[in-house]
């Protein structure tokens, strides 16, 4: 058992940072990962009981397997200061600083960041996350199992992202599986790439996005509503008329332009490259020029990923869905309700007709609906 009250508190704080809604794992997943009950994890998090040493070791192994090597250092900072925590044997860690300079971090990113910042041994911080978020660095972990994990934050330095893309283009064939994790606010969005080209493109897009911070969400709240609760009767009629229909693309587009509310409608196509916007009305979300663009290439990757997942679910269920979304960006925000109708397009390809039921983004062009 941990005898020191302060170490117990640090463990509670360290677990609180990692476990829970919107954090890296849920309590249930953590409990399963370390072979304890969720109640036990909860009691450690609330500092109600002392965690046994083997329990802490299990937690450390569990989080290390997810690319987070800092738990022990946070619970026992003095020990971490004396003996640098190494990355698991065989794995290699790299850090790219904001100026694009890439170095290996043999003792792990946490130790590297602490050394660069010249942090006092007693200073408590999730050092790698601090470097990603505050400094715009990129962290790469090459695992012996053939996986490459790249971590960055939404505000990544363009030089760091470009360097990561260039390095990946040159070295990336060595990895069987590439995962890019993006920190947005408190939440991580993870995406796995089957092809090297797609992963490199994602990093290049991240480098290009930084100067467009006002278009990148800092928080997203999403809820699913009953489509029968829609406010606009014309859209209810539209839903009945269009849901599940199959038609050639040209006739779909022609008919779309005659429909009430078509200025707030988008048509999206699903193929092997993910969702692509075929046609977007001028009154759609944030009034971005989206025609012909893939959701995967959107400036705001986390938002794009979320929309893609929602549309996938609509196609899988074959039923209309009404989503309620509120998005805050660094400088602005917006809220809208989107009705998604599953369709069958030419060649049987999945299509979705997306309609903004209510759209409010006061600083981005007034309110609609």
């Amino acid at each position: 058992m941990i005898a020191s009250a302060s170490a117990r508190q640090r463990l509670a704080a360290a677990l609180d940072r990692r476990i829970g809604p919107g954090k890296s794992v849920s309590q249930k997943v953590a409990a399963a990962g370390v072979g304890r009950s969720a109640d036990t994890i909860g009691r450690w998090m609330r500092d109600e009981v002392a965690a046994p040493v083997d329990g802490i070791a299990e937690l450390d192994r569990f989080f290390a397997a997810r690319g987070d090597f800092d738990l022990l250092a946070e619970v026992f900072p003095e020990m971490a200061a004396r003996r640098p925590a190494a990355v698991p044997a065989g794995d290699r860690a790299f850090v790219i600083s904001d100026d694009g300079h890439m170095v290996t971090a043999p003792h792990g990113p946490a130790q590297h960041v602490r050394e660069v910042l010249r942090l006092h041994p007693a200073a408590q911080v999730d050092a790698p996350v601090y470097a990603l978020r505050m400094l715009g660095w990129v962290e790469l972990t090459a695992r012996t199992d053939g996986r490459l994990i790249i971590r960055k934050a939404v505000g990544v330095s363009p030089e760091a992202a470009r360097r990561a893309a260039a390095w990946l283009a040159e070295q990336g064939r060595a990895w069987l599986d590439i995962e890019i994790r993006t920190l947005q606010g408190e939440a991580w969005a993870a995406r796995r790439y089957d092809t090297l080209r797609a992963a490199v493109a994602a990093l290049e897009a991240a480098a290009a996005n930084v100067d467009l911070a006002d278009q990148i969400s800092t928080s997203i709240r999403a809820a699913r509503l009953n489509p029968d609760t829609m406010a606009d009767p014309a859209q209810v009629a539209l839903r009945r008329a269009w849901c599940g229909r199959a038609a050639p693309l040209d006739s779909m587009l022609a008919e779309l332009r005659t429909l009430p509310g078509h200025e707030r409608a988008s048509l999206l196509r699903r193929d092997d490259d993910g969702w692509t916007v075929v046609s977007a009305g001028p009154g759609t979300c944030l009034r971005r020029d989206l025609d012909g663009r893939r959701l995967a290439d959107m400036r705001d990757q986390v938002y794009g990923d979320m929309v893609a997942a929602q549309l996938d679910a609509v196609m899988a269920e074959g039923q209309p869905a009404l989503h309620d979304l509120a998005i805050r960006t660094r400088f602005d925000g917006g809220a809208y309700r989107r009705l998604a109708l599953p369709l069958a397009g030419p060649g049987g390809l999945p299509f979705v007709l997306s309609l903004a039921d209510i759209y409010q983004a006061p600083r981005a062009g007034g309110a609609i609906g």
């Binding site: 609180d16 505050m134 715009g136 505000g155 800092t218």
Partner: protein, 277 residues
């Protein structure tokens, strides 16, 4: 005691409200130096976004923490990460200093917000009947229709006030830093007791301080002062090397200030010469 709901200071610092250059400078230098200064003094800085943290600290010992209207959870159930930062310094796990900043939108002037009590109460009807504010500070009519960062509730334990007066400066710098780095606002204000006026420039790094805010409690008038700083002032403060040194004063004249004063003196002297001729 553990600081409930709090995370280590650097983990709470997002830099969301800073431009890239300032975020880099703060992230690489200012913030680590301030945290190191705390560690060298045997202190650990924490941040919470939950007003319940202050209540929990005070519940442990009534002499701890300082409450004012904006820091009371019962009056502000809406408070959260989006508008609230509480900095706590602990020594051996025990809180020894705390302060908070709340971001508040004001529709009219600051004077109206103070007098109507909408600045300090989510619902002005919660203000006690015997409590009123009369604001005569001229600056309070200039500040209008903007987000205002209201700093207050600064508390430092007696032991640390006497043993190391730098704790107060450290607390204010950490609070200022997170208020400026994490939140967007136009003005930072504090309504304080007159003896604190002397801290306005060297410790708080304020733009100005003005008398004329009178709080009456059950008819008894209490004279307070309005301390104010623009966001630009705080951003300039963050860029000063002295900011990361709790032993150093802010508000000291910069070389540019001295040059400007010299230029003014020469210009006026020249005008006097021309007048004589």
């Amino acid at each position: 005691m553990i600081v409930p709901g709090a995370v280590p200071y650097l983990d709470a610092l997002t830099g969301d409200a800073l431009g890239r250059a300032d975020r880099q400078a703060v992230g690489l230098d200012t913030a680590p130096r301030l945290v190191n200064a705390a560690c060298e003094a045997g202190l650990v800085p924490w941040v919470s976004h939950d007003l319940g943290t202050l209540a929990a600290i005070k519940a442990e010992d009534p002499d701890r923490a300082s409450f004012y209207q904006l820091s009371r959870a019962a009056l502000h159930p809406e408070a959260g990460r989006h508008d609230t930062a509480i900095v706590v310094l602990t020594d051996g796990g025990r809180p020894v200093a705390s302060g908070s900043v709340r971001i508040r939108w004001i529709d009219g002037t600051l004077r109206e917000a103070l007098e109507s009590r909408t600045l300090l109460y989510a619902d002005p009807r919660q203000a006690p009947d015997g409590e009123a504010v009369i604001c005569r500070a001229a600056k309070a009519t200039e500040i209008r229709s903007c987000d205002v960062a209201v700093a207050g509730g600064l508390w430092v334990s007696r032991q640390h006030t006497t043993a190391d007066s730098r704790v107060n400066r450290l607390l204010v710098r950490l609070l200022t830093l997170i208020a400026t780095a994490n939140y967007r606002w136009s003005w930072c204000i504090s309504v304080s007791h007159p003896p604190l006026m002397r801290r306005a420039f060297p410790v708080y790094g304020a733009d100005g301080v003005e008398a004329g805010v009178i709080v009456t409690v059950d008819g008894v008038p209490i004279e307070t002062v309005l301390i104010h700083a623009s966001r630009m002032r705080f951003l300039e403060n963050l860029r000063l090397p002295a900011f990361a040194d709790p032993g150093a004063d802010l508000g000291q004249p910069a070389p540019a200030d001295v040059q400007r004063a010299a230029a003014t003196r020469h210009a006026l002297a020249g005008m006097a010469m021309e007048g004589t001729a």
